[in-house]
Amino acid sequence: MMSVRAMKAALKQQAIHFFVDPQWVIPSIIAPFIFTTVTLFLFRHTGGDLMLYAVLGGGVLGMWGNTIHSSSWSIGYDRMNGTLEAIMVTPAPLSSVVFGRCLWNAFLGLLNALAVFLVAKFAFGIDVTVRDPLGFLVALAATLLSLAVLGMVFGAFYVVTRASSALFQMLEYPIYVLSGAMFPLVVLPEWSRPFSYALPATWGAEALKIASLPGYDPLGLGYMGALGLTALTTLVFLLVSLWLFSFLEGRAKVNGTLVRY
């Protein structure tokens, strides 16, 4: 069902692409970077833990931003390049290839976290120390994984149509809002909360905050609770994405839409 070898190869390929011409990561992470910096200015009024809160949220936004811009486009790249068939004709599952790339993209989104961290530390003089470094790292890894999986869900649609990424990219801001990375979920209206709860990014951000901010846990989940929910929602999206891939690949093979760009 999955090929680790193909994932690794795809991750490496994506990394090489990045290093050949790194400037193109900017369009994908500039929005989260500016959003976070603006938030820092607004939170400065309140100060305290809120600042670290914004830094953490910014990291999640960055991973999300790059995931949605690069991952939803992953297959589009092959489609444009004429390499989609060359991949499809191999025994490696397409989903593994896309997953490897999404993993890299989410990882690259951490560049934003780094940029935000630097701004926070040097421009705002925020003391960026986390309460539980190990827990923080685990939560970060889980969030990264969950975003890569979400990228896969979006990426799958590209097998069928190139318009898909245009539609998915519109989800960038809605998810910035709904994930509650920058403000507590309780600020959001009642009706939108189920959407927030369905997103692994929501729980990943929550776990990150619980691990970092002393005394933070508005939903009473505990660190393990938030991490567990991240894992659970990630698993659900993983299954959805695998199903989508097999379903959409099948459709593309009937309609002959693999090559058309």
């Binding site: 795809a10 490496k12 390929q13 692409h17 011409d21 004709v89 191999t90 025994p91 309609n255 693999l258």
Partner: protein, 326 residues
């Protein structure tokens, strides 16, 4: 090798593309691309699918290489069903499409091959050895660590072929392998294809170049409008026109109207018009050429005829006759 076992078997293979679904605008209507095609390819053979653009060659190749699901009919490759056993089949076949697309341009030649080797789970030690070897075969050893965007067309095409060989396929599908290449590179590519065949790889190639099919293929199928019009060795194809002869006319004002008029003459089975610089060359396939010359000369009197002569039929004439003729 004419009595080898069949490694590709297509039986009543048909593909109808459904009308496309579009969010905005009209998706068009369904299209019959391949219509009840039956043939088989024997082990070690170079088999050609020859036909004009849009004849259904590529669609056929895609169905055989597991990229497209047939609407009806059945196909097996190496005894494996192309739909049901696609997963198992993929590691034993490969597909190379012509043209410049299909490589990662920001990666080097070697990185491209490494990537695709990984897709096939080629064991690590084996991978290194095999890639070095492949680069050597296609003559890219020196350019191995240069990014593909710097490659010439010919180099890209050779890398394509190397890519198609990373899994040491038993059956290789080549879709228009010399498309858009200049004559010399085409020649190199054909030499490489022959070399592969000698190594025992079964090759199915599509082409719309007659001479390519004539030069490379042990057997070929002429396909037009989704149907097989003729199937056999290039020699047996020429048989179709053995009893014909050719009147070749060069003139300055030959058009579609004249082509149709000529085709309607008694005893004429096909007419092709080739446009050259400032003149046209018509080849008329006819049972008795010398007898028809006066009629043809009279008919084309006002078309600024340069020359009229009688010629021997070629595979091309056979092809024109089989595809367009009566």
């Amino acid at each position: 090798m004419s009595d080898g076992e069949a490694v590709i078997e297509a039986e009543g293979l048909t593909k109808v593309y459904p009308a496309a679904f579009r969010l905005f605008g009209d998706g068009g209507r369904e299209k019959l691309a391949v219509d009840n095609v039956t043939f088989n390819v024997r082990r070690g053979e170079i088999f050609g699918l020859l036909g004009p653009n849009g004849a259904g060659k590529t669609t056929t190749v895609k169905m055989l290489s597991t990229l497209l699901i047939p609407t009806s009919g059945k196909a097996t490759v190496l005894g494996l069903d192309v739909v049901r056993d696609a997963g198992k089949l993929r590691s034993r076949i490969n597909l190379v499409s012509g043209g410049e697309r299909g490589l990662y341009f920001r990666l080097t030649g070697r990185q491209n091959l490494e990537f695709f080797s990984d897709m096939y789970h080629v064991p690590r030690e084996e991978k290194r050895r095999r890639i070095t070897n492949l680069l050597e075969i296609v003559g890219l050893t020196e350019a191995a660590d240069v990014r593909v965007e710097e490659y010439s067309r010919g180099m890209k095409q050779r890398l394509h072929l190397a890519r198609g060989l990373v899994n040491e396929p038993e059956v290789l599908f080549l879709d228009e392998p010399t498309l858009g290449l200049d004559p010399e590179i085409s020649r190199e590519t054909r030499a490489l294809i022959r070399h592969l065949s000698e190594e025992g790889v079964t090759i199915l190639l599509t082409t719309h170049y007659m001479f390519e099919a004539d030069e490379l293929c042990d057997r070929l199928a002429i396909i037009s409008e989704g149907r097989i019009k003729a199937l056999g060795s290039p020699y047996s194809m020429k048989e179709a026109v053995r009893n014909d002869s050719i009147i070749e006319v060069e003139a300055r004002e030959l058009g579609e109207a004249q082509r149709r008029e000529l085709a309607d003459l008694p005893g004429v089975s096909a007419v092709s018009v080739e446009h050259l610089e400032g003149r046209q060359r018509a080849r008329i396939v006819v049972a008795n050429a010398p007898g028809l010359i006066p009629t043809v000369a009279a008919m084309l009197e006002s078309r600024r005829v340069i020359s009229i002569r009688v010629d021997q039929p070629t595979l091309e004439d056979a092809y024109i006759k089989l595809v367009n003729g009566r």
